[in-house]
């Protein structure tokens, strides 16, 4: 498709004011689906977790998952929402093959949570409070794979395949109010807001909250209005923007695209747009039309919900410290510079570092190991760093380094042993024989031998060419199979060379 014209971002902001809105879908990590007892998991082959209810077969009868309601209420409370005293499900009717029932069970005029807010902090320090209109429950659709055609996209596909394992999985859809006054920060507000929702869902434990797995998905609404106008522009809704970076890019792209269209005298069509991760552009989907006449009506197969105030207050007591507050507290406790702390946060290692510090390690050592060696090994193995080693094991390893039992190099070998399941750090040190040789006698014997083999080096050292000692240190480290503290060896080499000199005077 032809690339549309884009206006320079700064110029677009000069001429127009962006107005934003976000719909974030959070997939809950309940054991079962929203309305049936099929497992909420996707690993075991296509269409293995289906039943008459989630396939929309005759005779299927939905039953509300208690845990899903609990998770939704907790998520709503963490977003400062009111919890409805009366809430019910509704059918959203449309035909699409990923929805076997020919309707989505959602909520319309009585969402379970409403009127909340989330305050986010931008990199500049600017605080933005995003008002949340509602957070309602619904069930997810199945997964479509488009076959044939040239692109693997819907366009030109010959047919599609459907796996309904995800059909019926519980979702909470969080809908913001219009966000005005975003100005140049609009893309960053999008990214930071979605990051904030993700972080809260993760802290609550109500979702696996992995965007790359589709546990958190964002639809971004963008419209522009000319400076000085009070009339809202026509908005577009960019669907399924599935990484934080993409949220930022998609918002920025739509601002630039819409500004170019409007400035050239064109009009914006109210439509769904698709985000293309590879090319970084959005393309038109279907315009709002008859197909959006969803004919919502109350779900007759499910009775209303009336969460008791006692239950809501009980759930409020289970809320964890808000992630933003926790971040501030931990950064202060650990004394990390902003970049150091960001590194930990971006690598998803805050919990790991916290647990390692709690197990007795210094914060800087814990950070260094998690974001350094462990992250490197995890990256090579294609797994999450915090799945490789227990924080307590790492703390024990760090203690061995600080006690001088291990050098950093030896500690890396011990870490490999621990990861390979050879036991605790102390056990690996013993079984692999990796402790530093701290017995000066053994070191001195090796040094004297090395010096006697390299009399030229000895002569240079005595001439004050201390850098020549490197050759002897290398030989000694080799003799010790690396298990010596190089700094201590250097000290001893100079001492022995000196001793030999003074000895010759006697």
């Amino acid at each position: 498709m032809a690339k549309p014209e884009l206006m320079d971002y700064d110029k677009a902001l000069e001429l127009f004011e962006p107005v934003l809105g976000f719909e974030v879908h959070v997939e809950l990590n309940t054991k079962t689906k929203m309305f049936c007892g099929c497992a909420n998991e996707f690993g075991s082959g296509a269409n293995t977790n289906t039943c008459p209810t989630c396939l929309g077969l005759p005779g299927g009868l939905p039953q509300v998952n208690h845990k899903a309601i609990e998770s939704s209420i907790r998520l709503g409370l963490a977003l400062g929402c009111e919890i409805a005293e009366h809430s019910r499900f509704a059918r959203k009717n449309y035909f699409y093959p990923d929805t076997a029932k020919n309707f989505q069970t959602s909520q319309y005029d009585d969402p379970i949570c409403h009127d909340g807010s989330l305050t986010i902090e931008l990199e500049s320090g600017r605080l933005v409070t995003v008002e949340i209109e509602r957070a309602h429950m619904e069930d997810d659709a199945g997964k479509l794979t488009h076959m044939g055609g040239s692109t693997g996209r819907i366009q030109g596909a010959d047919y599609s395949l459907v796996d309904y394992n995800r059909g019926g999985v519980p979702l909470v859809e969080i809908v913001t109010q219009m966000i005005e006054g975003a100005e140049h920060d609009a893309p960053e507000i999008g990214r930071t807001y979605v990051a904030g929702i993700r972080e809260i869902a993760k802290a609550l434990g109500v979702s696996n909250a992995r965007m790359e797995e589709g546990n958190v998905r964002c639809d971004a609404n963008v419209s522009l209005r000319p400076r000085g106008s009070k009339v809202l522009g026509t908005r577009t809704e960019t669907k399924n923007v599935n990484s934080l970076r993409s949220v930022e890019r998609a918002v920025r792209y739509e601002i630039q695209r819409q500004a170019a269209v409007l400035h050239a005298g064109g009009t914006i069509t109210q439509e769904t747009r698709h985000w293309h991760e590879d090319t970084g552009i959005t393309s038109a989907g279907r315009p709002k039309s008859d197909a959006d006449d969803y004919r919502y009506f109350p779900e007759p197969d499910l009775v209303p919900m009336a969460p008791s105030r006692e239950w809501v207050e009980e759930l409020r007591l289970t809320l964890p410290e808000p992630p933003a507050a926790r971040r501030k507290r931990l950064q202060a406790d650990w004394g990390f510079a902003n970049l150091e702390f960001q590194d930990v946060v971006n690598s998803d290692l805050m919990d790991a570092v916290e647990a390692t510090v709690a197990a007795g390690a210094s914060a800087q050592s814990a950070r260094k190991w998690w974001t350094g060696e462990i992250a490197r090994l995890a990256n090579a193995a294609g797994v999450a760093a915090d799945s490789l080693v227990q924080p307590a094991q790492l703390a024990a390893l760090i203690a061995l380094v600080e006690a001088g039992t291990l050098t950093d190099r030896l500690a890396r070998q011990v870490l490999e042993g621990v990861i390979a399941g050879e036991g605790t750090p102390a056990e690996v040190v013993a079984s692999r024989g990796l402790a530093v040789v701290s017995d000066d006698g053994a070191l001195i014997a090796a040094i004297d031998e090395a010096l006697s083999k390299q009399p030229d080096v000895l002569a240079k050292i005595r001439d004050g060419k201390l850098q020549a000692a490197g050759a002897v240190i290398g030989a000694v480290m080799k003799a010790m199979r690396g298990q010596a503290d190089a700094a201590r060896v250097r000290e001893l080499v100079l001492e022995r060379a000196g001793t030999a000199e003074s000895g010759s005077v006697e």
Binding site: T30, K31, T32, C36, G37, C38, A39, G45, A46, N47, T48, N49, T50, C51, P52, L55, L57, Q63, V64, N65, H66, K67, A68, I69, R88, N93, F95, Y96, P97, T145, H146, M147, G148, R153, I154, Q155, A157, D158, Y159, S160, L161, V162, D163, Y164, H274, S283, G285, R286, D290, D293, R295, P298, P300, L302, V303, P304, M305, A306, P307
Partner: protein, 98 residues
């Protein structure tokens, strides 16, 4: 005289993917019109002190515990499918998207 028009019936039929002949549309326009008129009569009686009712039973909070129960086998799940490919349902291409 009912507020339902033949255009509305045709529109609804299209949304519901029901293929109606012109005669059926004419008849349904009359039938649905009568139903709407009847409901309107009920609404005249229901004053503002009668709350809108979506569920006739005075029941709330009927929940299921979050416990996995066995699903259908893949063969059972696909047994009613008009077409399949491997373990997936096979459906016609969706043309009016993207």
């Amino acid at each position: 005289m009912s507020a339902i028009t033949a255009e509305q019936v045709a529109h609804l039929a299209n949304l519901a993917r029901i293929d109606l002949s012109p005669e059926e549309i004419t008849n349904l326009t009359l039938d649905l019109g009568q139903i709407v008129d009847s409901v309107a009569k009920v609404q005249e009686v229901a004053t503002s002190d009668v709350p809108a009712t979506s569920h006739p039973m005075p029941l709330t909070n009927v929940f299921r515990e979050d416990v996995v129960v066995p699903s259908l086998s893949v063969e059972q799940a696909l047994s009613g499918a008009p077409a399949r490919a491997g373990d997936k349902f096979r459906v016609p291409a969706i043309l009016d998207e993207e």
